[in-house]
Amino acid sequence: MIAQLIEAARRRADGGADALWRRFERTTVAFEWGRLKSAGTTEEAGANLRVRSRGRVGVAGTTATDAAPDELVARALASAELGEELDLAFPTQAPLPPLTTFFDRAANAPLDDLIGIGRSLLARLERDGCRVNVAIEREATATRVANTAGAGGEYRGTGCGVSADVWRIAGDDVLVVSDALEGADLPSDEALAALVVSINARLDHALRVVASPDGALPVVFTPAGLSALMLPVTQGLSGKAVLQGISPLGAKVGEQVFDARVSLTDDPLRVGRTASRPLDDECVPSRTTCLVERGVVRRFIYDLETAARAKTKSTGHGARGIFGKPVPAYTNIVLNGAAARPAPLQLGGGLLGEIPEGLLVDELIGVGQGNVTGGAFSHPVALAYRIERGEITGRVKDAAVAGNAYELWKRVAGFGNDARWTGSRCAPSVLFEGVSVARR
């Protein structure tokens, strides 16, 4: 379909066009409150077309794949008529990096194997007074991108996600401990064992509720808990935020903004990650982007449009769905070149030993609300633990942490030895000194 679409667009759009066609099949298995409940399948295909006509850019998408290419082209042209002028140049063909994105084992795993994964997790997570949900999802995708400048590419990919959450309700105390694995291949037995250890360890420590400490304290953020501190930074490193003038990092390229031990890369070439791909959704070949190097801001991410507006080059971060226009988006964010460790590790990544009194934060409430880009945050804890004399002494319920992410990243007190993937971010636990902790 994509060849006809590009051909049809070439005839009618004087400024060229690019398109994405994507098809996926997904199989899901769900265990609800401790029992197998449903199995599902999804088949979806669609196309997204962008045209440039008389200097203006328009976009159209459809899942009606039987529709005539001309109809989609007409809609994209109608969208372009309203658009602003944009000097968008479609890239020419460039060599694509070799990258394995398709794993037969994941693509062909029979339903019973997926159910087996779920059963084995349930058996290891069930305990008195708790209820467990487990979901397993496997998907196979095919993607084609092409443009009128002759660039293009296609690849197949696989993905497998396993998530589990354990609920314990005692009176009005609701405790939920969850974890998830996501990768391009089926998870190894070792990875599944690590997931079980991760949930059980956090649950064991959570059974005892203790009072929160109070004041400016050392706080360890686990790889999952780190979201509140990473979000302002990744938003600030997006070329789109820079272009809008709302990024505090906008004018800081080449400057030392973070602790000299902080490096951040975006890596679309990591084998085994679902976000990895040989080229982006705008025909730009993938490569690793160094965003922050030893505390110094190096580069922002751009797609074709934000790059054109910022008068720079796309970094290969164009992401598009079936509907809407491409946007800049990260692939795999890696803190300090961390390599994830498959083996189960101690909660806190070895950072707790030196802490006389502090907090270990695993999940916060309301991350992403408010004025994220500015860096200030203030969140009640969803799951956090008190640290006393280097040990976890129990779960803290009524506490809130606050600070400014940019200030905190200037002086990191330590990185853990427990780097792991949380979604598409790979990071270890991180210790910060002097984080505001308030008891409610």
């Binding site: 039987d66 939920v176 226009k325 500015g374 203030s378 505001s436």
Partner: protein
């Protein structure tokens, strides 16, 4: 289409089968600052099949190519057989319905050129930008859709609906030196083009407020009597209580069931809460849910006592209660799950006014609008759009960074006065649950007083 679907149903070998097909036309226009960011028209179509064999779990299939309908019906049946479930899934009884429910499109958006939609949004965006040169950025989004919907199930229900939805939102960002404040306007209705005309005043007002907030002090953290305006009270009841009343949370979880035992006191006698999927013209309103159950007004809290919950056919059967028409899916890509529709706190019968609520408050906070909120079951955190101090029974100065945090059970129990000025908040956005976002819902409430709540803009000591 109906013939095609009933023919496919007749070939299913499962004990229960349902098929949903949707075809959705939508347009979206976005302005950022003075620049049009995009204007697109989309067409989305696809189907969903759910099958149940006796002794089996749900077999589910969704697809975008309708040529695959028969294959997907067969596949859903196979999947159901592949997942044995004990005890078996049962479905609450719902009489079969035949309905051709074409909701009032109120000016069919499909007949309005996208250039005209752009002009409308440009005017509202301009109303925000024109307030002051302190307004340094705006984001304005127009979105509409009309969804043609077909539903059949093997118990004889046949539905055909035309469902409109229209939303407009505007964010105004005001800045002076390092201080940034924002204002947020949002409009959403299950109606059409006519309902979103002449709305510039609301956009102007939020931009004016963003500018005013530049000079407003941060609220001093602490415990206060707090009055929630109808918007924030609605968001609060949806987020903090509504989700707990969704029966899929309790039906197979004995501890949760105990926590949510009907008859438990949740608040003072003044508190009445419900969910009404049949209220006319609201975003959460539909004649039937996505299992073919008619929607209704369901009482959840009456005189402070928990009296009901929201059900799908499955959760109702499991708990020996009646389906309430709350099984909803955001699209053909998803299975229906228990969701809210239009959730509300009812007017107090005594008919009090806002002034009655603040009269005896020496020092308190009037928290207005919602920038966001999140609940982790019994704990919640809500960010109000802005606040005003209440001093000696009078509304006083504007304050910012009003964040309410607390425990649901304690907070519900501390609602001591409710006014008689109920209104629905007809906003855009939507509710998220289990990967299904945004589901159109509405919330409504009068002014509500919490005798004591923790307010913090900044928790720093």
């Amino acid at each position: 289409m109906i013939d095609r679907l009933t023919a496919a149903l007749s070939r299913s070998r499962a004990d229960y089968t349902e098929i949903r097909v949707e075809r959705t036309w939508s347009t979206a226009v976005t302005f950022r600052g003075r620049r049009l960011e995009s204007a697109t028209a989309s067409e989305d179509q696809g189907g969903f099949v759910r099958a149940l064999h006796a002794g089996g779990g749900w077999g589910v299939a969704s697809f975008t190519s309708l040529d695959r309908l028969d294959a997907m019906v067969a596949r859903a049946g196979e999947l159901s057989r592949a997942v044995p479930v004990d005890p078996p899934i049962r479905l609450g009884d719902v009489p079969s319905h035949h309905a051709d429910a074409l909701l009032d499109l109120d000016g069919d958006v499909r007949g309005v050129p996208i250039a005209e939609k752009k002009r409308l949004l440009e005017a509202y965006n301009g109303a925000m930008l024109g307030v002051s040169d302190r307004i340094v950025d705006t984001l304005a989004v127009y979105r509409d859709e009309v969804s043609e919907y077909w539903y059949v199930n093997s118990q004889g229900t046949i539905l055909h609906e035309l469902r409109p939805d229209i939303t407009l939102s505007g964010t105004a960002v005001a800045r002076r030196d390092g201080t940034i404040e924002k204002g947020l306007e949002s409009i959403g209705m299950r109606r059409g083009w006519h309902s979103v005309q002449d709305k510039a005043a609301g956009f102007r007002a939020v931009a004016e407020r963003a500018v005013a907030l530049l000079d407003a002090p941060t609220v001093k953290g602490g415990t206060y009597p707090v009055i929630l305006d109808p918007e924030l009270a609605g968001v609060f009841i949806h987020e903090a209580f509504g989700h707990l009343s969704e029966a899929d949370f309790v039906y197979e979880n004995p501890q949760a069931r105990e926590m949510m035992t009907l008859g438990r006191r949740f608040g003072k006698p003044v508190l009445n809460v419900g969910d009404n999927g049949a209220a006319p013209g609201l975003r959460g309103t539909l004649p039937f849910d996505d299992e073919g159950t008619p929607t209704q007004d369901t009482a959840l809290i009456e005189d402070g006592i928990l009296v009901g919950r929201l059900h799908s056919r499955e959760t109702a059967a499991a708990m020996g209660e009646r389906p309430t028409g709350n099984a909803r899916a955001i699209s053909f890509r998803h299975a229906p799950i228990v969701r809210m529709t239009n959730t509300y706190i009812a007017d107090a019968p005594a008919g009090r006014t806002f002034d009655d609520l603040i009269r005896d408050v020496k020092l308190g906070v009037y928290a207005c609008g919602a920038f966001g909120g999140q609940t982790m079951l019994e704990n919640f955190s809500f960010t109000a759009a802005y606040g005003r101090m209440i001093r000696d029974g009078q509304v006083a100065e504007l304050v910012k960074d009003v964040v309410l945090a607390g425990n649901l059970f304690q907070t519900l129990d501390r609602i001591d006065h409710i006014a008689g000025d109920f209104r629905w908040n007809q906003m855009g956005g939507g509710c998220g649950k289990a990967g299904q976002f945004p589901l159109p819902v509405t919330e409504g409430a009068p002014h509500v007083r919490i005798e004591e709540a923790l307010v913090g803009g900044d928790v720093a000591p």
